[in-house]
Structure formats: C-alpha cells, structure tokens
Symmetry: C2
Subunit: 341 residues, 2 copies
DNA sequence: GCTGGTAACGATACCGGTATCGTTACCGGA
DNA sequence: TCCGGTAACGATACCGGTATCGTTACCAGC
C-alpha cells in the first residue's frame, strides 16, 4: 500500500527480496542469468506479496504482449459471438490471450469509422495484433498487424476475410427456382454495406440465370434488422399477386418476414417460402426451422486469427482477400409449388 | 516511422507543430491553459499525422483509463452474452469503454481460479475497474474496484451480484403445486456451484411448503447441460409411477428433458410438465415454449456495472451482496392435472 | 520605474516495467 | 602474480505519455 493505487510494484518485490529490480525482472521472464536460489527467493516473495506485473508498463518497453485485440461494433450480436468463438479457438491454441474491445458509442452504426479510435487506442502497446469486425475505413494509422473480417469497403489496404455473399444468394435463388418459384421477393440490406451490395447482385444474377425478368416492386431495402424486415415483408405481401417466396438478406430479416406472415395469417412454408442468410443459432430454433445461407462465420474468425498470428510472426500475407465459401442449409421454410399457382 | 514500431508519438507531433510535448498533452486533454490558435495548429498536425495516444502510456502516469474490464470464462456462451449486453448498456451510458477479456485456456472450467491471472493482468493500469463473471476465488490481489457476477463462493470479499436462485425455484414449485402436481422430479445442477445448491434448497422448501414428503428417487443430479439432463430425465421417467412434472435447474437441462420425453413418446405438457431456469432465448423457440424462471441476466450485468462505476468514483458499496429478483415466465410446457391421476 | 498578477508555454521528473551495459567476485591457466 | 573469462547481479536509460513546477512576456496599478 505504499503507492497511491495500492498495488505492489516490482520495486517493492525487489526491496523485500533484497535484490535489484533487474533481478526480479529476470526471474519474471525466466532469463537464465540468475542463480537458482535467488530465483527461488524472488518467486517466494512474489507469491507472498501477491505481485502481478502490469501489461501496460511491460509492453511500453518490450513491445510484445501475447495478446490479440478484437475490435467489434458490439459484443452481443450473434454474428459477433460466432466470430469471437472462431478467433478464440485459434488464439488460445497458440497461447495468446484475447481481448475484445467494444466502443462506448451507443449505436455503433451511427457514426462512420466508429472503429478508428478503437484501433488507435489499441495501437500503442496493448496488443500484438488487431482483428477488426465489419470496419468502415479502408486503411488505418497503425503499425500493428491488422486483419479485417467482412469490411464494408470492397478494397482495403489490409488483408480481409470475406464470405462469398454473391454466390451464396445465387445458390439460394437457384434452389427457389428449382422448387418452381418465379415471383421471388428480395429484402436487401443497407445499401452502403459491401456485403449487402454483393447479396443484391446475387439476387439479380439469380433471376437472370433463371430467365426471370426483374420486377422492381419485388425489391425492397431493409437494414438487416428484424423490425425493418417485418415492414419490408408487409410491403411485399401486400402486392397483388404477392411473391411466393422471399429471399431475405439476413436471418434477422427473415425472422421479420415470419412476423409479418404471422400477422397476415400466412403459414410458412405452405403459403410463403423464406430463405435467410447467416445461419445463426436462432435460425434453427424458430418454427419452422429456417432454410438459410451459412456464412461459416466461425471459420471466418478462425481464418482471420491465423492470418494475424502469421503477421505477428513477421510472415507476409500472400493475398489481400480471403474468401470463405457460403453453403446453403436446407431446412423447412421452403416448399415446392406448381408453376401455375 | 522514426520509431521501431512505426507509430507516431506525442513528441513527433510536438516537433511538427513547433511546440512542446506539454502543450500537445494539454490540447489532447482539453486543458484551458492553451491559446486557441496554438490548439488549432496542434489539432491540425494531430489530424495530419494520424496521431493517437496510447492508453498504456497514458494510464501508467495518470491512473485513469475510462475503460471497464470484464473478465469472462468464455465469450460466446448465452449467459456471457447477456451479461455483456447489460454491462455495456451502463458503461457506454457513462462514457466508459468496455474491454472483455477471456482466458487463453482451452477449457475455462478445467482449472480452479482460472480468472486470477486475468485479474492480475488487468490489475496494473489497463482498466479503472473490473467485473468478473462466475469467479472461483473469494478474494483477489488487486487494488482495483472489483465486482463479481454469480460467484461460486457463497461469501466473497468483494461485492457480488447474484440471482435469487432459492426464491426462483420456490415460486416455480408453488406454480406446479397450484396446477395439482404432487410428484415433482428435480434435476439438480453441479453440486459445487453455489447457484445449484440454492436451487436445490428451493426445491426442498417448495415441497415442504406444499406439505409433500421428499422422495429421494425424484431427485437426480445433473450438471446444467442438455445431454446430462436427458439422462437424468430418463432416470426419472423410468420410475413407477413417473413424476407428472419435472423441475430442471437450467433451460439446457429442460431441453434434455424434452429430448428424453420425445424418445419415450411422451408429449409436453399433456403427459409431462416441465419448468426450466434461465429464460434463455432458446426457451422461447422450442416446442412447446418453455415455462422457465427468468434470471434477468442482463439486469445483473447492468447492476454490476453500476456498482463498479460507483466504486471507481470513490463511493463505497453499502452491501456485499446484491440480489436480482427472479421471475417465473409462464409459457406452455405445464398443464393442470387432477390430483387423482 | 517597479511590483504583482496572469496567460501561455516549456523543462523535467515520474509511472512500472524491460534492455543495455557496467560491476563485482571468483576461477583457471600461464 | 597477473590476466582473461564468466556467472550473477546492479545501475541506469528508456518506452510514451501526464503532473508539476518553472519561465517568459505582457499588462495594470501604484
């Protein structure tokens, strides 16, 4: 309790053990320049005093922390959770600690480049490398190894891990067409998001591939959320005739479609087929289980972690874009229809 | 790029702006001892150079970081996610950043006191306060304000936020009794967990309150997981006569009961009433929706955050234990029966 | 003219560690 | 005896910021 904050410092330990701070530091870092008996004494004193070294101070000088930083827009969204899971698997396997950092901003999406100040915070000396989830900026002022997952920008100065959004929707559309659907509604994501743009392109391509003319009335724009998705679905279902299937840009949006259908007394899949995008945990437990496009979000996190660890070890990245394949997961929210109906 | 790590330091900014580091620091912290024109120049240089100050260095001297640390056993478990959500709401409302720290240990539960080294890491100067989720240790070597959520120990040296596990089960039992149930099975949680012990006590109290004699055969011990829960349920349903209702110590366990009932061709709630504990998201989407005890996990997180912020501001905590009330959420997994049946 | 006060800014110690270099004691060999 | 080498450890600069105090210039008031 000699210092203001009450913590035990390396100097306290040194004094107590009757050695210099240098020696204590050597013991802490398992250097070999210290006699076994001395090391034993120091270790005992450390134990007795409950000393723990501060990463902040250590890293300031030694520039290595064994910690990987993960910057996320929020910490509870299903997408984020899955990313974290994948990242953590890899980092922990390599003995790195994981530190997830979320903004104090109330709504992460309210401001462009919300993440730049977080990168800046971690920039100094807290982490050895950074992974950013859904970043806005195309470049950062940092010398730390940095990898992005699902960036908004199409081209970035840092390596990025992205899903094959285009192919994912394309595959889903082909599936709907194979079931006989011709009037397929699409609820897009926020147009400023790269992933949303790619998914929309997949929709157009899917129509073209099936020889179906694009009907502007069947395209509404949401923002990946459930409530907006419900509103968009209302709009689509009010058409005459309504679409027989709706391709949603995200699972959350698809749940909104469920809500809207329920309000209109429509049954899924009897009266309406629905496909989502993300394969979140919830998509399995809704009723009926949602057919959706799996992004292997967890795998994206794992890949990003491997990349950042490679960069930390000084190895270069061959590519600037790493694509993780999507996969259509067929459950029970779609059914085949007669072309005539 | 003059330094090894390539980052721009406050000295680079000072040199570029033609002022001293002191002045730059003053501008950074909005001190009033600086001329507006000078401040403008400094700010412009900061912008141009993309300078960002390092928390590590700052906090080393100023002992305040505006960051609250959250130490969790994992980052993806639903319980953790909800806690984080509650914590984040409060911290962000007060302008604090949130930093979630997970262990590199593969299985957090494999070692006792997994969290002590994480507390030690954050101890020094990285955060202003710490919240620990489901900690083992009853005390920590840290001078930082520390609050725990759902600790394993019954009594701790730090303030703890806990749910009213006892009352929660008691209320659920009263509900089952009111529906006419007399043979009520109970699947306990891991006996070393404080929360599991309290829930078991609630079961006994519930029986006593209804004047029902305790039957040891109706009590089996699980571990909060789904598969074990299923095994326990098999055991209970093999009894003659089987219980008409099962009180599960967690939602996961309750899902296990669903599984076991399905295997035996029993319908819920027609043939068996089930109550869970946790009110996870999944409990809403299973079929039938699960009647369960809500822990308001999110509210626990929020309360813990408020406490830690109070401590950071130097205000004392009146109590050592803060209880968050549980609440029975009645859905469709229970039905009334004739006492005779 | 001299003093006192204040606005604006600079110089420097310091936070808690680590890296680097220096110092001491002790040993073997010529 | 003297020298060189090495094991063990100490002294100190330094990381990038902030806190504290000192300095300068300028102006009002006597």
């Amino acid at each position: 309790m000699q210092h203001l904050h009450g913590g035990v410092t390396i100097r306290d330990v040194a004094r107590q053990a009757g050695v210099s701070v240098s020696t204590v530091s050597r013991v802490l870092n398992d250097k070999d320049d210290v006699a076994p008996e001395t090391a034993a004494i120091v270790r005992r004193v450390i134990e007795e005093m409950g000393y723990a070294s501060s990463i902040a101070a250590r890293s300031l000088r030694s520039r290595t922390t064994n910690v990987v930083g993960l910057i996320v827009p929020d910490l509870w969204h299903p997408f984020t959770s899955l990313v974290i899971r994948g990242v953590n698997q890899v980092t922990s396997a390599h003995g790195y600690d994981l530190l997830a950092y979320a903004s104090a901003r109330r709504n992460p999406y309210s401001m462009a480049d919300w993440e730049v100040h977080l990168v800046a915070q971690l920039n100094g000396t807290v982490t050895d490398g950074i992974i950013v989830v859904t970043p806005n900026a195309a470049t950062y002022r940092t010398a730390l190894p940095l990898v992005a997952i699902d960036p908004y920008q199409a081209t970035t100065e840092y390596p990025a891990v992205i899903a094959t959004n285009y192919q994912g929707v394309l595959e889903a559309m082909a599936y709907l067409v194979s079931l006989g659907h011709r009037r397929i509604g699409f609820i897009a994501g926020r147009p400023d998001l790269e992933s949303a743009k790619r998914r929309l392109e997949g929709y157009h391509a899917g129509l073209a591939q099936a020889g179906i003319a694009f009907d502007p009335a069947l395209l509404v724009t949401g923002d990946y959320t459930r409530t907006t998705g419900a509103g968009c679905a209302e709009q689509l279902l009010a058409l005459d005739p309504p679409p027989t299937a709706i391709m949603a840009s995200s699972d959350e949006t698809a749940f909104g479609v469920y809500d809207a259908a329920a309000r209109r007394g429509m049954r899924i899949p009897q009266d309406l087929s629905v496909i989502g995008f993300d394969n979140t945990l919830e998509s399995l437990s809704v009723n009926p289980p949602l057919t959706t496009v799996d992004q292997s979000i967890e795998q994206m996190g794992a890949l990003a972690a491997e990349l950042v660890l490679k960069l930390i070890q000084g190895q270069p990245c061959e590519s600037r874009q790493y694509k993780v394949a999507t996969r259509l997961v067929v459950r029970q929210s779609c059914r085949a229809i007669d072309p005539g109906s």
